[in-house]
Symmetry: D2
Amino acid sequence: MPGTPPTRYAYLGPEGTFAESALISAVGADEGIRQPAAGVPAALAAVRSGDADAALVPLENSVEGSVPATMDGLADGDPLLITREVFLAVSFVLAGRPGTTPADVRSVVSHPHALAQTAGSLARLLPGVVPLPATSTAEAARQVADGEHDAAVCAPIAAERYGLTALAEDVADRPGAVTRFVLVAPPGPLPEPTGNDKTSLVAVVGDRTGALLDVLSEFAVRGISLTRIESRPTRERLGVYSFSLDCEGHVADARVGEALSGLHRVCDDLRFLGSYPRADGRENKPVTPVSTDAAFREAAGWLERVRAGRV
Amino acid sequence: MPGTPPTRYAYLGPEGTFAESALISAVGADEGIRQPAAGVPAALAAVRSGDADAALVPLENSVEGSVPATMDGLADGDPLLITREVFLAVSFVLAGRPGTTPADVRSVVSHPHALAQTAGSLARLLPGVVPLPATSTAEAARQVADGEHDAAVCAPIAAERYGLTALAEDVADRPGAVTRFVLVAPPGPLPEPTGNDKTSLVAVVGDRTGALLDVLSEFAVRGISLTRIESRPTRERLGVYSFSLDCEGHVADARVGEALSGLHRVCDDLRFLGSYPRADGRENKPVTPVSTDAAFREAAGWLERVRAGRV
Amino acid sequence: MPGTPPTRYAYLGPEGTFAESALISAVGADEGIRQPAAGVPAALAAVRSGDADAALVPLENSVEGSVPATMDGLADGDPLLITREVFLAVSFVLAGRPGTTPADVRSVVSHPHALAQTAGSLARLLPGVVPLPATSTAEAARQVADGEHDAAVCAPIAAERYGLTALAEDVADRPGAVTRFVLVAPPGPLPEPTGNDKTSLVAVVGDRTGALLDVLSEFAVRGISLTRIESRPTRERLGVYSFSLDCEGHVADARVGEALSGLHRVCDDLRFLGSYPRADGRENKPVTPVSTDAAFREAAGWLERVRAGRV
Amino acid sequence: MPGTPPTRYAYLGPEGTFAESALISAVGADEGIRQPAAGVPAALAAVRSGDADAALVPLENSVEGSVPATMDGLADGDPLLITREVFLAVSFVLAGRPGTTPADVRSVVSHPHALAQTAGSLARLLPGVVPLPATSTAEAARQVADGEHDAAVCAPIAAERYGLTALAEDVADRPGAVTRFVLVAPPGPLPEPTGNDKTSLVAVVGDRTGALLDVLSEFAVRGISLTRIESRPTRERLGVYSFSLDCEGHVADARVGEALSGLHRVCDDLRFLGSYPRADGRENKPVTPVSTDAAFREAAGWLERVRAGRV
């Protein structure tokens, strides 16, 4: 757009993290500029303050679980919207300066989470070497590049960024870990429905037997599947429960819209977090014929005729 | 309305039946003319053909149960609308010609249903007198007036119509019987909502475990109570079930409208039979705050904002 | 059984009714003696007093609907058990004395229900002949045999019993009518499960939104289908609803037993009316693998181990 | 118990962690010996191998969310049982060697999670000091005691253990964080019901619309409330969903036992993780009269009589 400054993307920094890697995979280098943030709260704050146009933050990780800073950061404070989800395989490399061989390594450094997920591999590859902590995997790579340590467990992007070479690839003890990131923007036009979308919500309900069943019934009667649910503690208010939910479909879909209206009525509070294309490589379950937009339209026409007495 | 002929009301005849009594209680003598019909099908056919403007027919009786001729007559054929319900206490009198005393009675006559419901009283009042059948309670009164028999079990209106006097009143063995009649009209504007209405439906669903639960869920998630339900055989189609239902509320109510739209989508067939003022002397259950029209309006506004990204 | 007097079967009389026909079809002539009763209440009372060992009474008719006298007679009073259901095609004959032809007929007589169901045929077969009422179809046949009238609409058994011949067969206007009778006995051992059984219940619940949904959930979570449901007025107690239900399966089945226990807990009142072989020519829906007796047994064993800490 | 060696408790080490603090609060020093483990997997492995009699591991944290290593470590592998839950307020201290004042501090060290949760306080208390990572808060305290750094963010127990003094207490940016630990033991007798218990489960169900609703229905029909639910990815098997659940009540309770039996039948897999006293300072919701053990016993007696035909 002529005259429009490039989009500014905040991400969970520093440079060389998996978050930057995910952002690069999602947004072409020429589509915007990338700004590392010191943490999830900082990345979200940058969007809320206008210092960034969007932020890419991790929502959940198949090994580490959900990311409360993101969950809570979206559930509280000024509204933000998820406009996209990005999945990234978490593939650790053991990286050293060029010319280094495993036998040369006297010290290995990384973020404690990364060390925990590669403990078995490190014991096998670098027997007797005690792992040391760093504040991030990218910082670990920097320390190795600067000669402070011999090897780092980090993202491929960090190795590349700091000119390191891989002593070993895919060193996670349990391969296949995936992190789900979300791109978060200020309120504004929603992504167009694609036919394979997800919708994210936070629902707060009274603490009574069957309250969650009532919430799920609003989805079930409209033929909508959930893809994630998590009860969240609500520190501030006793006697209520908070649920973080993802469901299949887009709020522009008739069935999802009616379900969300229903939840809005019956929940103590309902926060809409966004509708966006599904990106985990799976397809939503087929919409049953009675739950399509066409079926809702037809039913609305029928109701209008009935109300007018034209049965 | 100038130039409009008086409304023609068909009712389950002959003259002097409880149906005529109910019609008189519901429609002032100057509001229309009354036409007896030979049976429920004939009464409904008169409305469908335009020979009558409306028909008053029995739907259920607290002693005799539902009236299949009415149930099926409304469920099948060209659509008709219930515009009113009328409850009438079924109060049998034992009637004879003026001057007759119980000791004079050598024969007693009535419709077999009426004889069945008064068998104990008759045995006590008229020991040794064998009851004889007539095609209707009104016909029985006529036979007594004409001297064919000595006493009839009939409606008070029939006794009055044929100039008989009551030898005994309220002779039902089990007092308190009530018949629910409905006034049926061709499709046209519905009665205005009064805040204490009922809606009648026939829902056809596939014969699978949980199908009825799905139907009831459409009501429950919108906070709507049922007042009557009855599974009906569907002769024509194997593998489907038909349910005759009354629920609280008017189709003009947001919650009822949405529930009916939902049923229209998920049922194999849904026939709307009318929304009309509740007349059984009871009040609908209070509408919960989350199910009022205002709550639905507010939710619709919320949804519109969400879809526009104005969260 | 040596020394045991023959079983005494009461049935809805008089002799020659469809009820006798149904009883004959169900119980061989040498298996017991048949006693006509003056009405459903009398038939049930005979069983309760010990004057009969069992009673065959109509429960519902595909044209006339449910039979409240039977419904209420089983729901109230001393407990009785349905031990069998019997379906009988309601096939009316137009019967006259031998030698009579339709052209000879000057009067036709029957129970008003039978006259109503054959009105079209009679108008065609006997144009101009005014139908006359009798207290039962069998009584109508007797009157013809005695020369009081020329023709009767009755059951084939009545024609045979009174030596009449059929002037026309299957004279119902809407063919295919079926009556469901039930054989009712005093409390005692239940019929053995056959794998294709039904269970009948009367459930009383508080009058609150969702109460019926709760009742149906008890069936649905155990994978049990209903075959009939009917809300019944409960005159005696305001604020409660009564439901008459039939479900698939036998109370001896684990899933049905657990469902009934659950209903017993959550209902204001639950009356068990019997488990008996299904006889409508249909098969129960296949029991899902997770709802079989074997699955319940396996789960009970699992629970026992869990409670003992042997996980 | 004479001759019994003291109980060996593994916990998430090293010494001086919040886990040790929680263990001390739960188990008296004379009741057993404490063994630090290098991680949650190591702690659970010690119990499975018999090297420890029980392990105290974190399950969820009000700031950091659930602990996947514990969730997955309990859901997979040989069965273990939660026998107790322990809640510990996460109260960070900023600790230095005796005589240190904030103005003296040139370096501050801790586990990155602890640094993240105290970032605001540290910026205020120690402006300009760059936080450094350690593999645990206890290790950070050790480094300060050994003179490698000036101050540590750690648990009070670590400060005490290493002879440090508090420069500042309760330095979390968001006070009130609580960690929920569980004590895990090999299969064996369950804790006695106390009337205020919780039960933990992992349920695996097919990926179809309404599957979770079915799971929740098993609880709802027995009047049981959930206190936590979380969908978990199941990497190994496509097309299934896994849910980690806590509900109110003890498996020895009739309602919980029946619900778990039901889940065992309908779920693809159900793992029982234990029933244990609720320790979060809250009371379970009152058990409704229809869901008490007495109500279940009464219903079982009723069913037995019904099955014997003694209605």
